[in-house]
Symmetry: none
Subunit: 243 residues, 4 copies
């Protein structure tokens, strides 16, 4: 009988194992020996197996719990905050809680391929919350309309990696913001061809807008242009005054 136990100590043990596994996976990657998890939990290896029939299931349980926590946090945000805040707060939450890169990297796999129904259900709930938050934010105009839930998930995965890669945590968080801000309507995504190989050096020699980097048409006479237009000039000015 797996895990359905009703004795208090059994439930306590299950929880201990789950926590220990969560930490272990995060700190040491998905390859931590089960023995290490058992040690961290302060139980025997057999006890781990009593509650989780194998390592895969344990990993899924950990992941499920993780998702459940995220879902709960998402729902809380949905109830308490404005759509856009809720949405971006939710994403930050996901990213910050996804400590441990091996761990994070495997969130990737969490689309449809996980076989266990419990996990599938959980992933579904997660997607539902995410989607709800996303749509709300989009309706509120806080997020670009051409973004779907899959985009958000993938971007989140990327942010977690970025955060893991950057040793300096504050700097890492800034990069995460920078990335997530790409979801805001104001962000203009460069078309891929825009800066790919086709462009020749002579064209650029002309310089680009110092504010947004957009290409500037050369003008043979007069003072060289520095900005692509009034907006950018204003913006740059404001920045100068503010800075």
């Amino acid at each position: 009988m797996i895990s359905g136990g009703d004795r208090a100590d059994a439930r306590r043990n299950r929880a201990k194992v789950l926590s220990a596994a969560g930490e272990a996976f995060a700190e040491q990657g998905l390859d931590v020996p089960l023995g290490e998890i058992a040690r961290r939990a302060g139980v025997g290896a057999g006890t781990v197996y009593r509650h989780f029939p194998n390592k895969q299931v344990l990993l899924e349980a950990v992941f499920t719990r993780h998702l459940d926590e995220l879902v709960a946090s998402g729902e809380r945000r949905m109830a308490r905050f404005a759509p856009t805040e809720a949405f971006f707060g939710f994403l930050l939450d996901i990213v910050e809680k996804s400590h441990g890169r091996g761990y994070v990297c495997d969130v990737v796999a969490a689309d449809a391929s996980w076989p266990r129904p419990m996990l599938a259900a959980c992933v579904l709930r997660f997607r539902r919350v995410l989607t709800a938050l996303l749509h709300a934010a989009q309706r509120a105009g806080g997020v670009r309309a051409d973004i779907g839930p899959d985009d958000v998930v993938s971007l989140t995965v990327g942010c977690a990696s970025t955060l893991a890669a950057r040793r300096d945590r504050p700097a890492g968080l800034r990069l995460v913001q920078l990335t997530l801000d790409g979801l805001r309507p104001s962000a203009t995504v460069t078309k891929r061809q825009d800066f790919r190989d086709g462009l020749d050096i002579r064209q650029e020699a002309v310089a680009c807008c110092e504010e947004c980097g957009a290409a500037l048409t050369v003008r043979p006479t007069g003072r060289p242009v520095r900005y692509c237009g009034a907006t950018c000039r204003q913006r740059a000015r404001r920045r100068r005054l503010a800075g």
Copy 2:
């Protein structure tokens, strides 16, 4: 006697092993058995060991080659393209070539901690090219000034993860663009507190700019504001006309 050999078949085998290892690491993660690599390369396990004294060294060789290719591509771009194009093209290159998530995740480790001198030298070269491209792009005004090489590396790692996470490759590439565009001067990074937990729902109820998501000051009377200012109003309008 490792690898220095000049016999044609030996060189061929070394190359085969290196390629096979690259693919294997990318597809199956860093845990692929060496036997699998040997099998893919069509050689015996011993041959792998003749060329690479152990798995770690093999991994480093693969990684070194990868970096070397990137360095070469970076230098080519530096010579042939305008700064900003060169820089962003380089980043896209890195991301696109960083197939395989386990693989990518370990680019992370490529700071100083790798012990082998050859790899260290290689990482250095990589950093040098990256830094040169970054600075050139910044001088050209194509990249925000408050970004350092470490930021770029971390962001790149994140982009690679994003790309790996997104099954739909074009969509993934678009997300990458979106992220990299965060490096352009026009991008405004939200201050972290802007959309974190501190904000209460009532405050937001006031709404935010539908274009950029910036908070809007409430006004008790009149038609409710939809944008934070003229610029955004214009932009939104243009989008509507274009869409």
Copy 3:
């Protein structure tokens, strides 16, 4: 978690492994596969590793146990026998119990170079007992004064090799006695030059004492001398009568 267990079967298995290892090392040398040891012990390879983290440690454990038994035997002798008897009995014990040549040959290494503290302590105890027995025997006049503990150890190693080399065990033991008797005060050790290359054949043509081999001064006339002195002549006579 290595070996500290208190479960009866675990202790039993540990003992089985230790015994099997002892025999295996003795019979097949230090290169026996661990699998062979496991097979002899009737356990799986993993069990060996549960009790001994690696082969070296296993070897040290075997060796430690061996030394401990010798120490115990030495202490028993010290308490129950007269110094000289105790000493020589101890040496014989060591030699006879040092079955297996590879095994024996590595007793050599047992000076300070073994890193494990437990083994070091054990070697120390062994040296202490050996030294005590040696000194007591020397004080009692049963052992030459110009012999130190290191000499005894080395000689013992040699005796064990001799014993191992001689297929006929009683003959081997006799050779061991012969060697150990060299430690008794009555033994005269030939100076190294006495029978080395320097001597020319003509000098020897003169002959040497038939009993002790000492060189005899030539005498041009009379019956040739056969012995170096009266003592030897007597001794030879006695032998002839006895024989």
Copy 4:
């Protein structure tokens, strides 16, 4: 075609390999990789195999050469020195040239069990020389009559081990002398029972001869006896004067 080659360079290579193998076996034990031997010899692994079909044969060749050298040295001694000198010099030679304990320990195996005819013949020659020297020395009265060739071989093996065990080489050589001196007629070998467990401590309390360690009968009155007889008393006196 193995080794029968007549080309000068082939013969030279064979010799190089043989020397290198000899050193390698002596320094690193019988487990030294063939590659190491090839490296030392400055040839490729294939060349080793061209001359010696496998490692065992190579080892035998090394051993054969070793024995041949010993045989030559023995024959030289036999021709040039008096029997006893020749004999003991021969033994010392064997011992001193048997550097490297693993190597030495395996001389043990050199009785009948070696299958290759060449080696067998060589061992035979060795035995013949040894036996001749032994018998000559015995006839000359320089070696006890109750010693056979097998005894000598085993003792030699033991001496080599002793020498290997004693870090301090001069001290080691002294121990070797001490052991070999046990072969001289003057040496009295204690009967095994003489100092084995049977004796009780009270009996020894009486003390033993300070010169030869023989047990002394207690005498209740008068000055306590220190020596077992006149011979020992004289000997001790001479030592005192000499010392």
